[in-house]
Amino acid sequence: MNTIKRYLRPEQIRELSLIVIIVIALLIFGTQINNYFSIRTFNRISASVMIITVLAVGQTLVVLTRNIDLSVGSIVGLTAYVAGDIISKNNDLDPLLLVLIAMGIGAGFGIVNGLLVAYGNIPAVIVTLGTLAIYRGLLVEISNAQSILVSNMPDWVGDLPRVNLLTIGDFELRVLVAIAIATVILFQLMLTYLPYGRRLYAIGSNPEAAHVAGLPARRIVFIAYILSGALAGLAGFMFLARFGTITVGAGVGLELQVVAAVVVGGVNIFGGTGTMIGAMLGSVLIGTLEQSLIRMNINEFWKDALLGLFILLAIVSDALILNRLRDLWTSDEMELRVDSEKTQAPVSIEHKETGHVAKP
């Protein structure tokens, strides 16, 4: 037990437990759905998860600072539409440039959110609930009820979801899925190793202490919103490629799925704890449930209720288990501290470096 404690943090146990839950869910669905364990199911789930995952990464940055970004669904819809409009009118545009434009537009909306939250001192829920409606209204206004159509775009846009990065036997890794995974890894590294990443945790764990320590809290929160907006722009581009036809309803309700994914993934909604890997696992669990429930022949009205129930169960059971673990770990930490005081060994510093901040 002690060796486990030494090498694993409660957050890692949580991530492991999420993996176990995902495996159990897959096994249960496997018995209920014909032909479930196939490469097709993998592609299906990964394609549906990729967009939520990219959004969850951005959301995690914001949630770590004790804030929230509810406007991402509208940013996705708006960037998907504008990017689609641009590529429809300029078929020769370089794909990479289009992605950058989408991310730039998203970042622009992130700036608005960030300015209001970080420098306007308005609660994040209020700001982003407002911009959720404003951005959607903007989309309704600029679209003039015209949809973006696959037939007006160059072929590569619609084909992109089917392009493989690498194929090993039956296993195919789609480019868009690879982009999502790369995003997760990149931002996980940032959280772990860059000062900016560490500061996100510091602000979320204890804003007052972070302020006293002289951290530029406003700027850190501001940048988190810009990054979240830019990632929502990237998700918007992926949305465009995946669905092709973009109406003004594109991305409605995505924010709820993303917040659910982040919370299920162990990112504390009150800031300060969580990882990108966890957020990704949360997205995978929610995407798996969603895609699999559709394939089970159950009544429409039950699907949403079941999904909600699963999310609630995941959070409640997880919270109960995690709190137990935290207690275990903290009591152990105390013992270690007592030991270390006796032996003068700086064990507690080691704990700080792992980024685990014990809750009072």
Binding site: S147, P161, F243, G249
Partner: protein
């Protein structure tokens, strides 16, 4: 493209006028009266509703109405009750007529009854309210005919039988539910013709691309032969899902769709036959009817005959598809097949 579709529809209209012919006591609208009107679609931002608005605006200008024509409605993805505040606020503002495409089943009925009690005519279009909750319904096509048209498209695509599933819009949309019922009735009433077509599932994509896409994937996994989507959003999403799965031609896609949105899919063989009517004309006819009701030129009783500008003469009749309902029947259906894509694609290219 719009202008051209309009022209085609106009020609089709002319032929229907010939059938109706001249009748006695045809009420003609007197232009220039001030009538404030509200046009309430299911959602904002859906092309077909914008086309209806276009038609209403055309009539608005033609009748030189100095009053206002408001085009308001819920944002995309809102619930069955989202239209109610717009009805209530129209009543409070004291508008002279409300034109609504109902997205809430019987949920909106109390609100429209309130409007009727305040003396405001409620003209439903596209999707009716209820017999009590409206003055008259402007039916784009005969609802039983919609079932027949869908059944015939299914029969054409599945001559040797097979499984079919319906991808609908929202579970509360009155028109969707009646079309589905009509389709089921056609299938059940003539087992000799349609007996081999098995309706295996009905799913709802809520008129959103991603929901519809996911539901279509679910249907593909169930192994259905034909996805029938009586909604323009649903049919396009189903075609994209079939395309992404590489199953074009194996899983067939049909329903109600917009030529502009469907032509790419039809060219690739990822969608087959589909049907629709002119939403511009629907908005135009709805406006004329509401204007005549608001100016007391007609009462909204069965048997009243009136002239609706360029579209000709219409009569209010009992709605055979809904008990106690009154309707003005527009029609007709336009069927768009892959075989004659050259005809309808050319129209689009001349935009």
């Amino acid at each position: 493209m719009k202008r051209f579709t309009l022209l085609i529809m106009f020609i089709l209209m002319l032929s229907s006028i010939a059938v109706v012919g001249a009748q006695d006591d045809v009420v003609v609208a007197e232009p220039g009266q001030e009538v404030d009107m509200v046009l309430l679609p299911k959602f904002l931002g859906i092309l077909v509703f914008d086309q209806a608005h276009e038609g209403a605006l055309e009539a608005h200008e033609e009748l030189e109405n100095p009053g206002t024509l408001e085009f308001v409605g819920p944002g995309p993805g809102e619930g069955a009750d989202a239209q109610i505040p717009f009805i209530t606020s129209a009543v409070t503002q004291g508008v002279d007529a409300i034109m609504i495409s109902n997205n809430g089943g019987e949920v909106v009925e109390p609100a429209t009854i309130e409007a009727l009690e305040a003396g405001i005519p409620v003209v439903s279009w596209d999707s009716p309210v209820t017999a009590e909750g409206e003055t008259v319904f402007i039916a784009q096509v005969d609802f039983d005919e919609t079932g027949q048209v869908m059944a015939d498209m299914a029969l054409k695509l599945l001559p040797d039988g097979g499984t079919m599933a319906i991808l609908s819009a929202t579970p509360d949309a009155t028109n969707q539910n009646e079309w589905i019922e009509a389709l089921q009735a056609v299938l059940a009433d003539d087992p000799e013709t349609y007996g081999d077509i098995e309706l295996v599932d009905i799913v709802y994509g809520n008129d959103q691309s991603e929901d519809s896409y996911n539901e279509a994937l679910g249907l593909i996994d169930q192994g259905v032969d034909l996805i029938m989507a009586p909604t323009t959003v649903g049919i396009a999403a189903a075609a994209k899902a079939v395309q992404d799965e590489g199953l074009c031609g194996e899983v067939l896609v049909s329903g109600l769709g917009l030529p502009a949105e469907m032509q790419g899919f039809v060219e690739d063989g990822c969608a087959q036959d589909f049907a629709l009517w002119s939403f511009v004309d629907l908005g135009y006819l709805t406006y004329y009817t509401a204007y005549l009701l608001a100016t007391d030129a007609i009462e909204g009783e069965v048997g009243e005959t009136f002239e609706a500008g360029r579209m000709g003469v219409y009569t209010i009749e009992e709605d055979p598809t809904r008990e106690d309902g009154k309707r003005v029947l527009m029609g007709p259906f336009s069927i768009f097949s892959p075989e004659d894509i050259d005809n309808w694609r050319v129209e689009l290219d001349e935009e």
